[in-house]
Structure formats: structure tokens, C-alpha cells
């Protein structure tokens, strides 16, 4: 478990990995994004395709991570307060 965590995280956290992902996404966007019609959005309208399908649980999660980790932000939900001990 400990060794696997190290190897995996090094790969997943490398800039190249994300650079690649971003370039791929932007290319697929260039070729496909202008053609989606309003009546073709059935899949995108499914609840499991939402950015935050369960906002109330997401608020709890982001509050926990905000309290227990050294960085925060990047999400819309999440309340205030500390609960930081």
C-alpha cells in the first residue's frame, strides 16, 4: 500500500500527465463542440453527469478537506467556519 501510493502519485501528479490531458480535451473540443444541438443533451442532463451530483455531501467533504489539509478552494460549494482542530 505505501509503495503503491508513492509510485501512483508521482505519475498522477506530474505536469506532463495533466498537460497531455488538457491538450487532448481542447483538441476534442475543437472538433466536436459546435455541433451539439439542444435536443441532443439527454445524456448531459442526467443527474450523474452533473459537476456536483450531491451538493450537500460535497459541502461536507470540502469542509473536511478544508479543515484537515493545507490547501482549499476550487469548488463552488462549502460553507464557512473552522472546525479545524
Amino acid at each position: 500500500m505505501r509503495c503503491c501510493l508513492k509510485i501512483r502519485s508521482e505519475y498522477f501528479f506530474s505536469i506532463r500527465f495533466y498537460g497531455g490531458v488538457i491538450i487532448l480535451l481542447s483538441l476534442s473540443g475543437l472538433t466536436g463542440c459546435a455541433s451539439v444541438e439542444p435536443w441532443e443533451k439527454g445524456m448531459l442532463a442526467k443527474p450523474e453527469m452533473g459537476w456536483t451530483p450531491d451538493p450537500i455531501e460535497a459541502a461536507m467533504e470540502s469542509h473536511i478537506f478544508f479543515s484537515k489539509e493545507g490547501s482549499s478552494g476550487g469548488n463552488v460549494s462549502g460553507g464557512g467556519g473552522c472546525g479545524c482542530n
Binding site: 444541438e37 441532443e40 490547501s71
Partner: protein, 383 residues
């Protein structure tokens, strides 16, 4: 008779042409169509402090029990109001500090087990929808016996390109007041303030009928008393500037009836804390009634410039902290969630296991946290 019909039709053409102008006869999409109530109970339990490194205090760390209620109410046909209420009870010991032990081993000092606190958070959000845009106003209040926060925000969404492109922008402000309940050995402050402001901009783009991507940028500034009043060795700058970049991706897979979620966040601040967070989730439908969602979250952080695992004697530097949250570490969490849909309501249960460890080449902070979380709840829709 036929002639009269024609005259009427001509008149009607004039009238209805005006109706068909954009923004006049179009209803905004996305307005909730009915009242809904959601409830969640969460149990959060941290692993005990490591016995072999702990020299003082109680080993039993934090336990939190939380109840959350959310009410969403459509207001007219162009707005919705959301009430959020949270009440949580926290108990257990928390890390006070780290000192240098024999052979330079870090030794953990925990607080006594006496801490018991409650926090209540109330928030209201009003969202107003227009044909190609929406605006949200949000305000809330969080209270603990030693910490109060008042926060508010504004959010704006603009849709373009037949709603295939959405630009979001947001502003969040929080004013926090800290009144530490002093325990023996700590008497640093009586009352301090902390303010934070955050600006964000994001763009979501539909790529094809089954995929959507989102990029976001956020800048946040925290100012005031940012030191942790409950730590033995802690002195932090009174300003912190944070920059966050995020990326989200959703893909629906028709052949397996599932949705793939990828979320990435890159964080950096002027304390030199850097982090990468990646979250991957798989929403697997089984018919229209059952959903199972396994997910994994990886987190990697580089320490703050003034962090040290321990400090001994008089500190030569202005800023110092042994807070494990400012150390270099990696964390991994696994989550499994199950949703069962009934006609007018759904039931949810989720379990999460979070483990963290110090980065290689660093002395691991013995206070690094691992926890287990359980959440159960239900959503009800009133048609």
C-alpha cells in the same frame, strides 16, 4: 367567416412575432420544478494518534457527528431559494505540537480528551434564472463557541453557443472572528479577526452529446490572524494569497450506462504550499433504480516555507509552524457510495477511508491524519 379568420391571423402574426423575440416568451432552463428536502447524517472518526510517537495528552482524536438539511424551494418560475442547515458535534483530542525527541525523532503532544464543541451553520442562497444566464446571491453564518464566521457570495452564469458554453464568475467573502477558549499552556490571543475574499472564473464547454469539460481559476486572499491559536509553536504571516486552477471532465458511457468523473485541482500560495488533487469517480447505473459510485482521491502537498516538523528553543525566524497541515505529505482516499431511487425519494449511503503519510525524504509529522467517514441520508421531492 373565412375572411375574418384571415384578419385575425394577420393581427395575431404581429402580436405573436413580438412574443417570439428572444427573452420574451422563453422560460429559463434549470429552475427546480418542485420543492425538495435533503438530509444527511455523517459520522467522521479519526484514527488514534500514534502511540509510539505521542508523549503527552490523549490518543483518541477527533470524532464528528453532523446533521445536514437542505431545502430547495422554487420561487415563482424564474427563481429558487435554498436553505442549508448544518449542526455538528466535535469531540476528542487534537494535536498541540511536535517536539524533538531522542535521535531527532518527532514527539507528538496531544491535547486532553476534554474538547467538545458544537458548530452550527446556516446559509441561504437565492438563484435567479434568465433565459441565457443566472445570478446567485448567497449568505451564511457559522458559529462555534470559539469561532464565528459570516460569509456571503455572488455568482453569475452566462450561457452562449446554444448553451454549449457557460462562463461562470464568482465572488466570496468571509469575515471570521476567533475567540479561543484557552486551555492551560496556551494563552496567546483573546480575540482576533480573519477575512477572506475569493474571486473565481470558470468555463464549461459541451464537447459532444456525452462529454463536458470545465476549467476554472480562483484567486483568494486571506488576511488577519492566520496563526492557529491551539498550537504550541505557531506563528504565521497575516496574509495568504492563494491561486487555484481546476479542471473537470464528465463522460457518459452509453454501452455500460455509466458516467465517468475526473476532477483535478492545482493549488499554490505565497506561503509556498503547493498541492495537486485528483478525484476520479465512476457512476454505475443498474437499471433506473440503483447507482453505485466508487471513487478515489489523491492528494499531494508541498510544505509551507516556514514549516518545520519541530522547533526547539527561541525561534530565530519570524514565522514558524509544526502544523501537520502545512507539511509535505500525500493522502489517498477511497469512497464507495450507493444510491437507491424510489418514485419520489432516494436513499444514499457512502463510506470513505482517508489515509495520509509524509512525503519521502521528509520527517513525517506524527500528527498526520487518517479518518473514516460514513454518510447516510435521503432526498425527497414534493411534486
Amino acid at each position: 367567416m373565412a375572411k375574418k379568420r384571415h384578419q385575425n391571423a394577420a393581427l395575431l402574426t404581429l402580436v405573436t412575432s413580438a412574443f417570439s423575440l428572444p427573452g420574451i416568451s422563453a422560460k429559463a432552463e434549470g429552475v427546480p420544478d418542485s420543492t425538495s428536502v435533503k438530509y444527511r447524517y455523517t459520522s467522521y472518526v479519526e484514527d488514534n494518534a500514534p502511540e509510539r510517537f505521542t508523549v503527552e495528552g490523549d490518543l483518541g482524536r477527533y470524532k464528528i457527528q453532523a446533521n445536514q438539511i437542505q431545502l430547495v424551494q422554487p420561487v415563482g418560475e424564474r427563481a429558487s431559494i435554498t436553505f442549508d442547515y448544518l449542526s455538528e458535534t466535535m469531540s476528542g483530542a487534537s494535536p498541540w505540537g511536535v517536539k524533538q525527541g531522542a535521535d531527532n525523532q518527532p514527539e507528538l503532544i496531544m491535547s486532553g480528551a476534554s474538547i467538545k464543541e458544537e458548530r452550527q451553520d446556516v446559509a441561504v442562497r437565492l438563484k435567479v434564472y434568465d433565459k441565457e444566464s443566472s445570478v446567485s446571491f448567497m449568505g451564511g453564518h457559522s458559529t462555534e463557541n470559539d469561532y464565528k464566521a459570516v460569509y456571503g457570495g455572488l455568482e453569475n452564469e452566462l450561457h452562449f453557443n446554444q448553451k454549449n458554453t457557460t462562463v461562470k464568475s464568482g465572488l466570496k467573502v468571509s469575515i471570521d472572528r476567533i475567540n479561543p477558549t484557552q486551555e492551560e499552556g496556551q494563552s496567546r490571543v483573546s480575540e482576533e479577526e480573519k477575512n477572506s475574499t475569493s474571486y473565481s472564473i470558470g468555463l464549461a464547454q459541451v464537447l459532444n452529446p456525452s462529454a463536458i469539460v470545465q476549467v476554472g481559476l480562483e484567486y483568494a486572499q486571506l488576511s488577519g490572524y492566520l496563526t492557529d491559536p491551539y498550537k504550541l509553536q505557531d506563528s504565521r504571516p497575516d496574509i495568504r494569497k492563494q491561486t487555484i486552477a481546476s479542471l473537470g471532465y464528465r463522460q457518459f458511457i452509453t454501452s455500460t450506462d455509466s458516467a465517468f468523473h475526473l476532477d483535478y485541482r492545482s493549488y499554490t500560495d505565497d506561503w509556498k504550499v503547493k498541492s495537486h488533487t485528483i478525484n476520479v469517480a465512476w457512476y454505475q447505473n443498474f437499471g433506473s433504480r440503483h447507482v453505485i459510485v466508487p471513487s478515489i482521491r489523491l492528494y499531494s502537498q508541498k510544505k509551507a516555507k516556514f514549516y518545520g516538523v519541530y522547533f526547539e528553543g527561541g525561534e530565530a525566524t519570524e514565522y514558524f509552524s509544526s502544523d501537520y497541515r502545512l507539511s509535505s505529505y500525500e493522502a489517498m482516499s477511497y469512497k464507495l457510495k450507493y444510491i437507491k431511487y424510489f418514485d419520489t425519494w432516494s436513499f444514499t449511503v457512502a463510506g470513505e477511508r482517508y489515509e495520509s503519510e509524509g512525503s519521502s525524504g521528509e520527517i513525517e509529522n506524527p500528527a498526520l491524519v487518517s479518518f473514516t467517514r460514513w454518510t447516510v441520508g435521503f432526498d425527497i421531492k414534493f411534486d
